[in-house]
């Protein structure tokens, strides 16, 4: 088990700051990194993988900078990038053999591992077909297979379920859940249901910062009452949709059932509902509140920076200050 520490991590590209002053610590388990497109998830994962050099700060593994560790750190890693490059004229077997060679695995062990992984990801029947004949979902599964070739202790998956159908998503979730027991798995996505089931800890990113972190229960407890169900006429529904965040809308004849995300009761007859992760995500990415993100210090603290002028540490386990 390895401890990955992010210390004052920042990444700037000319005028844009992709990741701002992130402090965090990962230990074993599955971490879901949730955020909209452009939140900085990919940049953060690239820095943790050692691909992108931070503008400020450092990533440490067991107290040692990863740049210093070099190939010893890379030997622990399994990485699946968001834009997964591959040679279109390679077969799956040849591609995995090439990746095994790049990861310095001996041939015999590589062959065994390749057969095993192709079975796990369901590509064994297609292993001799060229990758240009593969669907997007199959390519993604191949990407997961190559990430697992060297039995990594730190697995970094950037949008791994992109292009997967629901059945493949379920299969993928089961694979990741089983892996997370003995490893550190960092999984980024903008699809809430991907992390809903499998992540032990959830980190929410917005505009380059980790705005909140904690288990789903902790996030729900700290969020308080933010989800409401109301059944209203269509005209009222339109007005409410303009004023509030609506996470679900269901037509019921002449009326509409709305699931609204708000810290205030949106309508007199709105019934309170337990906040789902999606509700919390929508609430935070749509409207950050200081009260929601204030929390006590601890190993799960996330520094949100000084843009609100208040202490907005994102630990949702310890309650408000």
């Amino acid at each position: 088990m390895h401890r990955i520490e992010l210390i004052g991590l920042e990444k700037k590209y000319r005028e844009k700051t992709a990741v701002q002053c992130v402090d965090f610590c990962f230990e074993s388990g599955v971490y879901g990194l949730l955020g909209e497109n452009g939140a900085g998830k990919t940049t953060l994962l690239r820095m943790i993988s050692g691909i992108a050099e931070p503008t400020k700060g450092e990533v440490r593994c067991d107290g040692i900078g990863i740049r210093r560790l070099g190939k010893e750190y890379r030997a622990l890693l399994g990485y699946l990038p968001q834009e997964f490059g591959y040679y279109r004229d390679f077969t799956a077997v040849r591609f995995l053999r090439y990746m095994a060679a790049l990861k310095a695995l001996p041939k015999k062990r590589a062959e065994q591992k390749i057969e095993e992984l192709l079975d796990i990801v369901g590509l064994a029947p297609y292993k001799k077909q060229k990758l240009k004949t593969y669907s997007g979902g199959m390519i993604r599964r191949l990407g997961i297979a190559q990430a697992l070739l060297n039995d990594p202790e730190i697995l970094i998956l950037d949008e791994p379920t992109a292009g997967l159908d629901p059945k493949e998503r379920v299969r993928f979730r089961n694979i990741i859940s089983s892996l997370g027991k003995e490893r550190t798995v960092l999984l980024s996505t903008h699809i809430v249901s991907d992390v809903d089931y499998i992540a032990d800890q959830i980190l929410m990113m917005k505009e380059g910062k980790i705005i909140c972190s904690g288990s789903q229960e902790e996030l729900a407890a700290a969020a308080g009452q933010i989800a409401w169900i109301c059944i209203v006429p269509r005209e009222t529904a339109e007005k409410l949709s303009e004023k509030y965040i609506v996470s679900n809308l269901k037509n019921r004849g002449s009326e509409v059932e709305l699931r609204i995300v708000s810290d205030q009761k949106p309508a007199p007859d709105a019934a309170p509902a337990g906040p789902a992760l999606e509700d919390i995500y929508l609430y935070l990415t749509g409207n950050v509140t200081e009260s929601l993100c204030a929390g006590s210090a601890g190993s799960m603290r996330a520094d949100t920076g000084a843009d609100t002028g208040a202490d907005t540490r994102g630990d949702m386990s310890g309650g408000e200050e």
Binding site: R74, A75, Y79, Y87, M99, A101, A104
Partner: protein, 255 residues
């Protein structure tokens, strides 16, 4: 009793100075020791790793580049066979050298345009190390090719080696610098057609220059020397810049 023991330990912690630097070094040594223990399954030597990578890698672009150099060499030999003059030989030598330079940068750009660079940066060799190995190999191939052209021209057409070396080396450097500059530009990153266009432009430029009589005058020697020196210095600077960009991760990702 426990409280007393704890106090004794706390006091000892305060009194024994621990060097932060030595602590860090010890931690790192322990990590590497553990990693070595963990990595017993990794291939025995670096050479073996390189051999495996070369065995399974996509070699088509390398094969095309080497075939292009080989074809140029064959054409050059055929020119001698069919009685071409020294002037014709030099007229061929300059664009051929420029073309060879462009092809080698095109081969190098394949590392970044296929989308594999990001993934391979998390493997045993970093992309920086792989790029260095590739540039060394390309350099060896190009040097062999250029030396062949120079010595063949020198022997068959009795041209001075140094002079012929300049006629081959300067266009080669000029073409390499132009194509490398294109590769380093963010706008054309991951776009092999841009490097190809730069290569064609430089080859055409070298071909056009070969018809200029002043290029072969004695007083042009200084210009040739200055061109070679400038080309070499700029190329070194570009290689350093490329490696720096790879180290930062800028050139590795497709977006």
């Amino acid at each position: 009793m426990e409280k007393e023991l704890k106090l004794m330990f706390d006091q000892a912690d305060r009194e024994i100075p621990v060097s932060g630097r030595r602590k860090g070094e010890a931690k790192e040594a322990l990590f590497r020791f553990e990693a070595r223990d963990r990595c017993t399954d990794i291939c025995g030597s670096r050479i073996q790793v390189v051999q495996n990578c070369m065995y399974y890698m996509d070699k088509r672009i390398w094969a095309a580049g080497t075939a292009a150099d080989f074809l140029l060499a064959v054409i050059f030999m055929a020119m001698r066979y069919y009685g071409a003059s020294a002037g014709d030989a030099v007229g061929f030598l300059m664009p051929a050298a420029a073309f060879s330079g462009a092809v080698s940068i095109l081969v190098l750009s394949g590392m970044f345009s296929d989308g594999m660079a990001e993934l391979s940066d998390t493997c045993y060799f970093s992309t920086k190390q792989l790029a260095c190995m590739e540039m060394l190999l390309l350099g060896a191939v190009n040097l062999t090719f250029l030396l062949f052209l120079i010595f063949f021209a020198g022997v068959q057409w009795e041209l001075p080696f140094v002079q012929t070396g300049m006629y081959a080396g300067v266009p080669f450097l000029f073409s390499t610098v132009l194509c490398m500059g294109t590769l380093l530009m963010e706008k054309f990153r991951n776009k092999p057609y841009a490097v190809t266009a730069a290569g064609m432009l430089s080859s055409a430029g070298a071909f056009g220059a070969s018809f200029v009589p002043e290029m072969y005058a004695a007083y042009a020697a200084f210009a040739w020397g200055a061109g070679a020196a400038a080309g070499g210095i700029i190329l070194i600077f570009q290689i350093r810049l490329l490696l720096r960009k790879i180290g930062k991760g800028e050139i590795l990702c497709t977006e």
